[in-house]
């Protein structure tokens, strides 16, 4: 279908317009927050309309396509489209950004300035949505880069005491990743002669020599691996998450990390499959090392937000393992793992942020225990989120982890079965360790007796905005856990199309 649909440009234009309004118009704080909520709601509505209008039977094909001339000298067209792989991520992004805007209504981090905060958030949203719907490599790259600047400022201005270092580390490290990624794109272009992702996907690496494919895949793996993050390229993440404000952490974990794994699926696996086949064992090994390493690191953490940050590394390890298996099951694992992680870890960061707001610290030793007694709703939500995050069957996190291991049991792409089964077993040990650290965390802060220093301090448990922000995530975690079809069915045909 080559009819031009305006839905995707509208989807991108709505938050961009909101950002422009917030930047240029001299609004009061209240008005700015209102504009933020209205814009993100509008974006969510557009994405829901997109989902309603989506042809689920044809999930493999790009829909709502727009394909116009843009930079003919560089052989770049402005080509956008959404398919079964990107649709859930688009919905996740618009939902999380809306929840962040609602959270900002409730509480704005130091030093205030909600106008600028929301403008940057909306700009971030444009970048992320653009990445997910891009169908041309350079368009993808442009939107990928657009994401970095707002996040840098989000951390640098509204972050914690160590924000300068964390922000610089974040942006330089991910820029390095972007550079590697760009080189990878150019390598692909040099032999394939096109930047168009649809054509490259259809060709499936036919015009690319095996050596070039491997080179391109390795470059893309490193570039996207920094973003995912993949061990050992993960060290920017804990610092960035610890210092970022709540909305920054939620968006970083909930949405930005998905860009890396999405890129791997959409570009690396689809366009250089030969390279993927040869590098898959390495990717799988690094993924599983990440799972175990992150779990052990979490066990030794002293700061709540850092602990949740490392848990992200572990979860994305499962997603990467799923991708490395190069099977429909494995890729499905990656898709649902992405969505589940976004929902659950987004919730965890909201909660960690709430705790930090009330207690003015996120050090586990200083928080003491008894959160369930002091702040029952927050403590209860924390209990739920931790249980969901450790992958209890019946909640969303289970499916990503389980399907990744199932995919590893019989890997595709000619990978060595003994290796992958060993990795599967190690990943299983990783799930045990994940349970250990989450339960240890709950034991330290949720249960137990309230520490003396906090006993008489008055704290509000939850505000209306908190309930509104957390409830959709709780509901989604249960819904996806009990009825995984809502994510898996969407991507089914697209995934099998990727692996022809």
């Amino acid at each position: 279908m080559t009819t031009t649909s305006a839905m995707l440009p509208v989807l991108l234009a709505v938050p961009a317009a909101g950002a422009a309004v917030l930047t240029l118009a001299p609004l009061s704080d209240r008005a700015a927050r209102l504009v933020g909520v209205v814009t993100t709601s509008a974006a969510l509505v557009v994405s829901v309309v997109l989902a309603a209008d989506f042809d689920y039977g044809n999930g493999a094909r790009l829909q709502h396509v727009i394909d116009v001339r843009w930079l003919p000298a560089l052989d770049v067209r402005f080509h956008l489209g959404v398919d079964g792989i990107s649709l859930p991520l688009v919905l996740l992004t618009t939902l999380l950004t809306l929840l962040c805007a609602i959270h900002t209504v409730g509480s704005t981090p130091e030093p205030g300035r909600p106008r600028q905060l929301l403008a940057l958030m909306l700009l971030l949203e444009v970048g992320v949505l653009g990445t997910f719907v891009a169908a041309d490599l350079i368009v993808f790259f442009v939107f990928f880069e657009i994401v970095l600047i707002p996040m840098y400022f989000l951390i640098n201005i509204w972050g914690g005491p160590g924000r300068r270092v964390a922000a610089v580390k974040f942006i330089l490290y991910t820029l390095l990743g972007s550079a590697l990624m760009l080189v990878g794109f150019l390598v692909i272009y040099s032999q394939a002669g096109t930047f168009d992702m649809v054509r490259l996907g259809r060709e499936h690496g036919a015009h690319l020599s095996s050596g070039i494919q491997l080179l391109a895949f390795v470059l893309l793996m490193l570039g996207f691996g920094i973003k995912s993050p993949m061990w050992p390229l993960h060290t920017w993440l804990p610092d960035a998450h610890t210092e970022a404000p709540t909305v920054g952490s939620v968006l970083l974990a909930g949405v930005l990390l998905k860009m890396g794994t999405y890129g791997l699926i959409r570009i690396a696996v689809d366009e250089v499959p030969d390279g993927a086949r040869r590098a898959a064992p390495a990717l799988a090994v690094l993924a599983v090392v990440g799972i175990g390493y992150a779990a052990l690191a979490c066990l030794g953490q002293r700061d709540l937000k850092r602990l949740v940050a490392f848990s992200s590394v572990g979860h994305m390890g499962f997603v990467l393992l799923g991708i490395a298996t190069l099977t429909p099951i494995g890729l499905q694992a990656a898709l649902i793992g992405n969505v589940a992680h976004g929902v659950i870890t987004g919730l965890l960061f909201f909660l960690a942020g709430a705790v930090k707001d009330r207690f003015h610290t996120s050090e586990l030793d200083e928080l003491g225990g008894g959160l369930l007694a002091k702040l029952p709703m927050t403590g209860g939500a924390m209990l739920f989120a931790a249980i969901a995050s450790l992958g209890l069957p019946g909640l969303a996190g289970f499916w990503g982890e389980m399907l990744a291991m199932l995919g590893a049991y019989s890997p595709g792409g000619g990978s060595s079965r003994p290796l992958f089964v060993t990795l599967m077993a190690l990943a299983g040990v990783g799930t045990i360790l994940t349970a250990v650290y989450f339960l240890a965390m709950l034991r330290r802060i949720d249960f137990g007796i309230v520490a003396d220093r906090w006993r008489d301090v008055a704290m509000r448990d939850v505000a209306v905005t908190d309930v509104v922000a957390w409830t959709p995530l709780v509901v989604l975690a249960v819904a996806i856990g009990v009825w995984p079809r809502i994510v898996l069915a969407v991507g089914e045909s697209a995934v099998s199309g990727l692996l022809r």
Partner: protein, 112 residues
């Protein structure tokens, strides 16, 4: 006259000029050495024009170009030297180091 004579002379003059530029401390002497280099190049151009004898006389044309440029350059250069001398009371090139990179007072270690 043999071409080689003019070329060698030009090279020698150029060499003297380079020495003067790199080694003289007085700014005016430095400018004189630059003049010497320019005129060496001029000599080369004239000699080769005499050798090739082409219709456009490119060598002679460019020699005239060079004369004009040298004159302009000396004018501006001496004006700068005079201004500097009035300000700093010296025309010693080694004293004029404002363009240097100083060690910053405190290294801002952004890598933490």
């Amino acid at each position: 006259m043999h071409l080689a004579l003019a070329v060698v002379l030009s090279a020698l003059l150029f060499g003297v000029g380079v020495y003067g530029v790199l080694a003289r401390r007085n700014a005016v002497a430095l400018l004189m050495a630059v003049e010497l280099m320019l005129n060496a190049a001029n000599l080369d151009l004239v000699a080769f024009d005499a050798y090739w004898r082409d219709r456009l006389h490119g060598g002679q044309v460019f020699a005239l170009f060079l004369v004009v440029i040298a004159a302009a350059e000396v004018g501006v250069g001496l004006a700068i030297v005079l201004a500097v001398f009035r300000l700093r009371d010296t025309s010693d090139v080694d004293e004029l180091t404002e363009l240097a990179e100083h060690e910053p007072a405190q290294v801002a270690d952004v890598t933490g």
